[in-house]
C-alpha cells in the first residue's frame, strides 16, 4: 500500500513525533490505505487537526515534524497569499504533481476565480483555434495525458465542457489545476459547467467525500461549489476553419490526403498519426479504417442550405446577407448536456440567472442534463433530469441560430467521440477507461483557426470586454477584431474537425501518490 520508502519514513517520523496520542506505523499505514489518501495528505490532515486542537498556543511549533517532506505543507506557515503569478505558478506546479494545495490557497484561488467568472456571460465567446474536451471526472493522470496529447496550456487554447469532478479519485487536483490554469491564463482556458458541478451531485458521486478525506473538513468543497455557481453554461466558438491546420505531429510516413482542404474529419491517435480521414464533398472515407465514432456522418454537409441570419452568431438575429460574418464555417455551440425545450435561441441562455445551484428542472438544468437520441422531437430522459432530443430539434435549432455544430459531452461513448444527426451534434468524451472500469478510449476535438483572412471577432467573454482579445497572451492571428466584407456570402459548411483519440495513462506513468484505483464489480 505504501509504494515509497520515504512515505514510510515520513509516517514513521510522524508516528514518533505526534504526542500525546501515539500512533503506530501500522495504524497510519492502514489509515492511508483505508481512507485512500496519500501518506502526505494524511500527515497534513493530522497536523492541521492538531493545530486546530491546540491553537492558539505557543506549543504549535513542535507539533510540526522536522522532516522536510512533512514540513512543506502546513498552511499556517506559508506566506500570506495574494495569488501573484509566482504563487499561481507554484500552485500549478504542485497540482501538476497531483498534490493538493493548502486550504488557504484554495480559498484564495476560488475567490479569484469567482471574480473572473462573474465577468463572463452565460455563453462565453471563444475564438478558434480551440481544443474542446468533454468529461474529466477526477481522472487526474488521464488529464495529464490529455495535455500531452492536446498540447500544454497556454500553447493550446482549451475549452472544457464540464464534469471535472466526481467518480475518479483525484477530482480535487483535477479541478483545482484547471481552475489555476483558468486564473493564470484566462483567455486560453474556458471552463463551462457540467451537471456534476453541483452540491447535490458531488455529495453522492465522490467529490464531497474526497475533500473531506483530503482536508478533514468540507471547507474546500464549499469553496469549489461556490465557484461552480459562477461557471458559464455554454460557449460559442467563432472563426473555426473549413479546413484543418497542418497536423504538426504528423510524421512524414503518415498518410496524407492530396488536398488538405478536402478533409472534413480527421482522426488521430495519441501520437498524432492519422488513423482515418473523411473528405468534405462526399463525406466518404478517404483513408484508414472506419472510426466507429464518426460512422454516422454520412449525408449532406451541415448548413449547406445557407442560413439567412447574419447577426451575432447564436443570437438568431437577422441580417441582410447569407452567411455569418467572421464565421465561414458557422459557429459552434458548446454545452455540457444539450438543448432545452425552453431555449429556442442562444440569446435565451444569456438571459438565465446562472449563479445558483443547478436546479432540478428548467432551462439551466436541461442544458446540463439533456441527451440527443434517435427520436422525433422531445422525450423523457432516463436520467430523471433534462430531456432527450431528436435530430429534428437539433437541425432546426442550428439553422435558427446560425450554428454549424453543437459540441457536447455528458455521455460515455466508447470510441471517445460520436457525431450524430448528419454531424449536427457531436459528443466528446475525455475520460479514458471511465471509472477505471469501462475500457473506453477518450477524445478531444480540435477546431482550426480560419486563416483565410475573413476575420474573426475579438473574444469578449460575453457582455464585458475584459479580454484583450488574446493579444499578448499568445493568441495567434493578427486579424483579430477585424471584420472583412469578403466573408459575406461564404457558404457555411461546418468546421473541419480533428479528433485526437487517446487511452488511459499507463499505470507506471502515474505520479508518485497514485494508488492503484480499484473499480467495483458485482461479486
Amino acid at each position: 500500500m505504501l509504494g515509497r520508502k520515504d512515505d514510510e519514513k515520513a509516517l514513521r517520523q510522524l508516528a514518533s513525533s505526534v504526542e500525546p496520542v501515539s500512533l503506530s506505523l501500522e495504524i497510519l499505514q492502514t489509515a492511508c490505505a483505508w481512507v485512500w489518501v496519500t501518506p502526505e495528505a494524511l500527515i497534513n490532515f493530522l497536523i492541521a487537526s492538531r493545530q486546530r486542537a491546540n491553537a492558539p498556543g505557543p506549543c504549535r511549533r513542535h507539533l510540526t515534524p522536522k522532516s522536510p517532506a512533512v514540513a512543506a505543507q502546513p498552511a499556517s506557515r506559508r506566506p500570506p497569499l495574494n495569488l501573484e503569478m509566482g504563487d499561481l505558478d507554484r500552485a500549478i506546479a504542485q497540482l501538476r504533481a497531483c498534490r493538493p494545495i493548502p486550504e488557504a490557497e484554495v480559498r484564495e484561488l476560488c475567490h479569484k476565480a469567482r471574480e473572473l467568472l462573474i465577468e463572463e456571460g452565460n455563453v462565453v465567446t471563444v475564438n478558434a483555434p480551440v481544443t474542446i474536451c468533454g468529461d474529466i471526472h477526477g481522472q487526474f493522470h488521464d488529464l495529464m495525458e490529455l495535455f500531452r496529447v492536446g498540447g500544454d496550456v497556454p500553447d493550446t487554447n482549451y475549452l472544457f465542457m464540464g464534469d471535472f469532478v466526481d467518480r475518479g479519485f483525484y477530482s480535487l487536483e483535477s479541478f483545482l489545476l484547471l481552475l489555476c490554469l483558468k486564473v493564470r491564463y484566462p483567455d486560453r482556458m474556458t471552463l463551462i459547467r457540467g451537471n456534476h458541478e453541483s452540491r447535490q451531485i458531488t455529495t453522492v458521486y465522490g467529490f464531497y467525500d474526497e475533500c473531506l478525506r483530503k482536508y478533514g473538513s468540507a471547507n474546500v468543497w464549499r469553496y469549489c461549489c461556490d465557484v461552480f455557481d459562477y461557471l458559464a453554461l455554454g460557449a460559442i466558438v467563432l472563426g473555426a476553419s473549413n479546413t484543418l491546420s497542418p497536423n504538426p505531429d504528423t510524421s512524414s510516413e503518415a498518410p496524407t490526403i492530396d488536398e488538405d482542404s478536402d478533409v472534413e474529419i480527421q482522426v488521430c491517435n495519441a501520437d498524432g498519426q492519422i488513423m482515418t480521414q473523411f473528405s468534405r464533398q462526399a463525406r466518404s472515407r478517404v483513408h484508414g479504417r472506419s472510426p466507429s465514432g464518426a460512422a454516422t456522418t454520412n449525408g449532406v454537409a451541415p448548413g449547406a442550405g445557407a442560413p439567412t441570419n447574419t447577426g451575432p452568431p447564436g443570437s438568431g438575429a437577422s441580417g441582410s446577407s447569407g452567411g455569418s460574418i467572421g464565421n465561414p464555417a458557422g459557429a459552434v455551440l458548446c454545452v455540457h448536456g444539450g438543448l432545452s425545450p425552453l431555449i429556442d435561441v442562444v440569446d435565451k441562455i444569456r438571459l438565465l440567472d446562472r449563479k445558483q445551484e443547478v436546479p432540478h428542472e428548467g432551462a439551466m438544468c436541461d442544458l446540463l442534463w439533456s441527451d440527443p437520441d434517435e427520436i422525433d422531437g422531445w422525450g423523457l430522459s432516463p436520467r430523471g433530469a433534462g430531456f432527450l432530443f431528436g435530430a429534428d430539434i437539433v437541425k432546426v435549432f442550428n439553422h435558427k441560430n446560425d450554428l454549424s455544430l453543437i459540441a457536447r459531452a455528458h455521455q460515455l461513448v466508447m470510441e471517445g467521440f460520436k457525431e450524430m444527426f448528419d454531424a449536427n451534434i457531436v459528443t466528446v468524451w475525455s475520460a479514458p477507461n471511465y471509472c477505471y472500469r469501462c475500457g473506453n478510449v477518450a477524445a478531444l476535438l480540435e477546431l482550426s483557426e480560419d486563416e483565410s483572412g475573413l476575420g474573426v471577432f475579438a473574444r469578449s467573454n460575453g457582455e464585458v470586454g475584459r479580454s484583450d482579445g488574446g493579444v499578448g497572451s499568445g493568441g495567434g492571428g493578427g486579424s483579430r477584431g477585424v471584420l472583412t466584407e469578403s466573408s459575406r456570402g461564404a457558404v457555411m459548411s461546418g468546421p473541419a474537425r480533428r479528433y485526437r483519440v487517446f487511452q488511459a495513462a499507463p499505470q507506471d506513468s502515474r505520479g508518485m501518490p497514485a494508488k492503484k484505483p480499484v473499480a467495483d464489480y458485482f461479486l
Binding site: 475500457g439 473506453n440 492503484k516 461479486l523
Partner: protein
C-alpha cells in the same frame, strides 16, 4: 473497529496484499511463505465480504429490505459502506431477479418438502429472510448452504452471537460439533451444522463447511441432502471461481444425486470478457487476484445456456442484469428505486449490468421456473 476487520477492508479496497504483508489477514495461515492455493481461497472468501458490504449499502439506502445485512458486515455504520448508485442498483436488480426465480420455485412446489442448495453462500441472508417472512409459502423447506469451513464457522459464530438471529433459528445441538479452527486449507474436512426455524420447525437451515471442489458425480451425498426432494441449486457468483471442469463436476454431483425429483438451478455470473469493458473487468479483477476461469469458456449468454443443457437441464432461460431491470422491475418499483439516489450514469449502467447474467434451468417436470 476490531483489529480483525481491518484486513477485510484492505482486501475490499484492492490487491495490495501481495507482498507478504498479509499478517492478520482474514483467513491467512499466519506463517510466512506464499501459499498460492490458500491465498486464492482467501481471495474468493473476501469477495463474499465485498458482496456483503454492497448488500448493506443497498439496504441502508432503501433499495432492499434486509434486517440481517448489518450483522454480516464488520464495519461501523456510516458512509464507509456506501456504494455508488450504479452498484446499488446492480445489487438490487440481481437480488430481486434471483428472488423472483426462488419464489417461483417455492410456489410451484408448495405443499411438499423441498430443498434449496446455495453454493458458496457465504454471508448470504436469503435463507434468514425466508425464515423470517410470514408468507404461508415458506414451509417444508430444507435450505442448505455450502461454503468453506472457515466461512461456515464464521457464519455460525454470527448466528450464535446475535439475539436477532437466535430468535428465528435454533441450532440443533446434536448435529453441531465444536467449531474447528478456521483454516482455508482444510478442504478435506467437512463440517455440518443444522439449525431449525423457531417459527416453523418444518424449515431447516443446514450449513455445510466444505470445499466445493471435492464434490463429484461419485462423491457421497452431503449429510441431510436428500435425493428425492424437488431441489433448487443457487450459484450466486460462486462456480465462476472454479475451473470449468471443477464447476461441471459440482453440477454433475447434483444431477447424478437428484435424477428424478426435479432439479433447478440459478446461475449468476459475469459474461462477455472480450469486449473493451469485459477485458478491463478481467484485468481489474486479476489485479485483485480474482480469477474467473469459467468466464473464459462461457463468454456469451448462449454459452451459458449450452452449458446448462449439456448438464442435462431441459428448460433454460437467461437474462442479463440490465434486461432483468427492464423486464422484471415494474414501472412503479422503478420509480421508487430511481427516487432513492438518482442514477446519472445511464450508459455505464447498461454497460456494467449488461456484463452480468442470470441463467436458470430446470428438469424433471416436478416444478417450473419463470420465463424471461
Amino acid at each position: 473497529m476490531s483489529a480483525s476487520s481491518i484486513p477485510n477492508l484492505l482486501s475490499l479496497r484492492g490487491s495490495r496484499g501481495g507482498r507478504g504483508r498479509t499478517r492478520g489477514g482474514r483467513a491467512g495461515p499466519g506463517g510466512p511463505g506464499p501459499d498460492a492455493a490458500a491465498a486464492h481461497n482467501a481471495t474468493i472468501q473476501a469477495t463474499d465480504t465485498d458482496a456483503a458490504v454492497s448488500r448493506l449499502s443497498a439496504v441502508e439506502l432503501g433499495y432492499l429490505d434486509d434486517p440481517f445485512a448489518r450483522l454480516f458486515v464488520q464495519q461501523p455504520p456510516g458512509p464507509s459502506s456506501r456504494r455508488l448508485p450504479i452498484i446499488n442498483r446492480g445489487t438490487y436488480t440481481r437480488t430481486t431477479a434471483i428472488e423472483n426465480i426462488v419464489s417461483h420455485f417455492l410456489q410451484t412446489t408448495q405443499g411438499q418438502k423441498r430443498q434449496i442448495i446455495s453454493l458458496g453462500a457465504g454471508t448470504d441472508t436469503r435463507a434468514l429472510r425466508l425464515f423470517a417472512s410470514t408468507s404461508p409459502v415458506i414451509t417444508d423447506l430444507a435450505y442448505h448452504e455450502l461454503d468453506f469451513p472457515a466461512t461456515v464457522a464464521q457464519k455460525l459464530t454470527t448466528i450464535r452471537s446475535s439475539p436477532q438471529l437466535q430468535s428465528i433459528l435454533t441450532i440443533t445441538p446434536n448435529l453441531s460439533p465444536p467449531p474447528p479452527p478456521p483454516s482455508p486449507n482444510s478442504s478435506q474436512t467437512t463440517t455440518t451444522y443444522q439449525t431449525t426455524s423457531t417459527t416453523n420447525p418444518t424449515n431447516t437451515l443446514t450449513l455445510h463447511g466444505i470445499d466445493l471442489r471435492s464434490l463429484t458425480a461419485t462423491s457421497p451425498p452431503l449429510p441431510s441432502i436428500t435425493s428425492t426432494l424437488p431441489t433448487l441449486l443457487i450459484s450466486e457468483c460462486c462456480l465462476c471461481y472454479l475451473s470449468p471442469q471443477e464447476a461441471a463436476s459440482v453440477l454433475s454431483h447434483f444431477t447424478t444425486l437428484i435424477p428424478a425429483a426435479g432439479l433447478g438451478i440459478i446461475l449468476y455470473e459475469p459474461i462477455k470478457p472480450q469486449d473493451p469493458f469485459g477485458r478491463m473487468m478481467v484485468s481489474n479483477l486479476a489485479a485483485r487476484q480474482i480469477r474467473m476461469p469459467t468466464l473464459e469458456v462461457y463468454k456469451q449468454p448462449e454459452d451459458q445456456a449450452a452449458r446448462l443443457r449439456d448438464a442435462g437441464f431441459e428448460f433454460v432461460e437467461t437474462l442479463t442484469v440490465d434486461a432483468a431491470w427492464e423486464r422484471w422491475v415494474d414501472a412503479e418499483e422503478k420509480e421508487r428505486v430511481d427516487a432513492l439516489e438518482g442514477l446519472d450514469e445511464v450508459e455505464e449502467w447498461v454497460l456494467l449490468a449488461g456484463h452480468y447474467i442470470v441463467a436458470w434451468a430446470w428438469k424433471g417436470g416436478k416444478f417450473e421456473l419463470p420465463g424471461t
